[in-house]
């Protein structure tokens, strides 16, 4: 790593730019959370309140012994969430998103690791052709195929079911590419050794390849979960029944119906954002590896 000897002034200037940029970067998310816990009457005011009163006033009220006002403040802060859970199907949408994203992740990990194992370590006629057909389709942007994909899904009769969202996600080929790259680096001698020890093909896959591919699997798993959780356009097309909406699609209809209740909308947005923020902060290095593996080096 290269260390720059910068003057203190220069360094201060660098930090000034970075911190300003970080503030601009984070303000929208900050605004989601603060708006969601503002008192209903303090959401739409000028000037806007940067610190919700439940945070700025709760402690002083408690300390001055005004228990009643303090409780009322907390009550008001939760009002948007209460309305969200009472008047919308947010719990249902959250569950849908969770089940679909988890299934997509588990399915992708299984299917892609099997295919990647075969492409990376096995010899069979047509292997390279089959692989390059798969990888070649990665250059076609998904948005271009919306219409024919919808027609396929309609032919299969799964429109308006979770399958319509799940199956196309399970068919994405990025993971095969990523895991194959990863498995190529695993020495073939290990496979030979296992074969001599009497392991079958499935045993080799399950007991040798999978454990050795853990970092690759973790990266792919996290990327798949995130992209599935956040996907919007295809679920919007594939499902028109509110009982099968995913969270992003549900939020869209919520917005169409409550154009001006920003407290309510932001509490919904917060619920969609929180799982992603937690996952990102806990697994940062896998995100970074996923981006760099899938990117330039490929």
């Amino acid at each position: 790593m290269r260390k720059l000897r910068a003057s203190h002034i220069g360094m201060g200037f660098v930090y000034l730019i970075l911190i300003t940029a970080a503030v601009i970067s984070l303000i929208p998310l900050y605004w989601v959370f603060t708006t969601s816990i503002q008192q209903p009457e303090e959401v739409q005011i000028m000037p806007p309140r940067f610190i919700p009163s439940v945070i700025s006033k709760y402690l002083p009220l408690r300390l001055s012994g005004d228990q009643e006002s303090a409780t009322a403040l907390v009550d008001g802060a939760l009002e948007s969430y209460r309305l969200l859970f009472k008047s919308t199907r947010i719990t249902r949408w959250f569950t849908n998103s969770l089940i679909i994203s988890l299934t997509a992740t588990a399915g992708i990990l299984l299917l892609d690791s099997m295919a990647a194992f075969s492409f990376a370590k096995k010899q069979f006629p047509g292997r390279d052709l089959l692989f390059w057909i798969m990888i070649g389709t990665m250059t076609i942007p998904g948005q271009v195929l919306l219409v024919p994909l919808f027609m396929v899904v309609r032919e299969l009769g799964v429109v308006n079911t979770p399958w319509a969202i799940l199956l196309p996600q399970l068919s994405m080929v990025f993971g095969v590419f990523l895991l194959r790259q990863f498995m190529m680096t695993i020495p073939s001698e290990l496979i030979e050794a296992a074969r001599i020890d009497g392991a079958g093909e499935f045993g080799i896959y399950w007991r040798v390849m999978l454990p050795l591919s853990k970092p690759g699997l973790a990266t792919l798993g996290i990327l798949t979960f995130t992209s599935s959780w956040n996907s919007f356009l295809w679920p919007l097309i594939a499902v028109q029944k509110s009982e099968w909406f995913t969270l992003p699609v549900g939020l869209k209809t919520l917005q169409d119906q409550n154009l001006v209740n920003y407290g309510l909308l932001m509490s919904g947005a917060a619920i969609a954002a929180v799982p992603m923020i937690i996952i990102f902060l806990s697994f940062q290095k896998y995100f970074i590896r996923g981006l760099t593996l899938g990117g330039v080096k490929g």
């Binding site: 948005q143 990102f280 981006l291």
Partner: protein, 292 residues
């Protein structure tokens, strides 16, 4: 031959489940997409209409409005995202590990938080009377702007949002590329008396070229597919002021159910994207080669 295939059967079995799904949901749609655009879909069956859909695309003012809006977006957002990623990564790179992690996370968080969430909150920020954007303007004594509901400002608002959302992926890729540049190059340059800016200009920048090219292509492709932001912030309006190509395709296909026509527009989009990507890689890919 058959004997060889039979001997290697486990190889096929392992790829079979994935390949079945891939064939149904990727290959068939790709092949189908060619046919769709030559057909017209009616309630009772379809009709082969040859190039009619493509002719219609070329005479459709709305489609060209969408192309214009998309171009306006791409022309600003693509360079701005690549340049800001380069600048931010260059500033982060010399910092200590802890500070690096902090800033990288700050810049990547909006990307993981989903475009739906980010678009929803920007719609609120751009609200005319109580939104943050107009409050910010008022601090400088500027008149409030009718951001999302005036045809003059709506597209600009979508672009401003995209420019102010940091290019998380670009920053991470640049940082990874910078970390793999051999230290010895900088040491040699220091001995030769090159200052830091000269080093950045003569060493870092040229060696980042593959990353820059990759980001330009990915960002162009992304800009040409912009949809979520428009759908959630303006619904393509007011009028058609913010209708983009994908938004147009979405409406024609899934609101008007003109699949053939939407298919033809998709083809146009695909050709445009591929052409741009090829031009960019032709123009930019030089002879930069180094082992990272």
């Amino acid at each position: 031959m058959f004997k060889r295939i039979w001997k290697a059967r486990s190889g096929y079995l392992f790829i079979l489940p994935k390949y079945i799904l891939f064939t149904i949901f990727v290959l068939i749609p790709i092949i189908w997409s060619v046919f769709v655009s030559f057909q017209e879909y009616r309630v009772f069956g379809t009709e082969w209409v040859g190039l009619l859909n493509f002719q219609d695309v070329f005479h459709d003012d709305l489609f060209w409005t969408a192309v214009g809006n998309t171009l306006r977006y791409a022309v600003i957002v693509m360079p701005s995202s690549v340049i800001s990623a380069l600048i931010l990564a260059s500033l982060i790179n010399p910092l200590k590990r802890g500070a690096q992690t902090f800033f990288r996370a700050s810049f990547y968080l909006p990307t993981v938080a989903s475009s739906v969430v980010i678009s929803m909150v920007w719609r609120w920020i751009f609200q005319t009377r109580f939104g943050l954007a107009n409050y910010f303007l008022s601090l400088f004594g500027a008149e409030p702007i009718n951001w999302l509901h005036s045809s003059a400002w709506a597209m600009r608002s979508v672009i401003i949002m995209a420019v102010l959302t940091p290019p998380g992926m670009g920053i991470i890729l640049y940082l990874a590329a910078m970390a793999s540049i051999p230290e010895s190059l900088y040491e040699a340059a220091t001995i030769d008396g090159a200052n830091r800016f000269v080093q950045w200009w003569k060493i870092t920048l040229p060696l980042l070229k593959p990353t820059t090219l990759y980001l330009m292509i990915v960002s162009t492709i992304g800009s040409f597919q912009v949809f979520d932001q428009v759908m959630l912030m303006t619904q393509g309006g007011p009028g058609y002021a913010t209708t983009t190509i994908v938004h147009r395709i979405y409406n024609v296909a899934f609101r008007d159910f003109q699949f053939g026509y939407a298919g033809a527009m998709s083809m146009f989009l695909f050709v445009a994207i591929i052409t741009l990507a090829l031009i960019q890689s032709k123009v930019l890919s030089g002879d930069v080669e180094y082992k990272g």
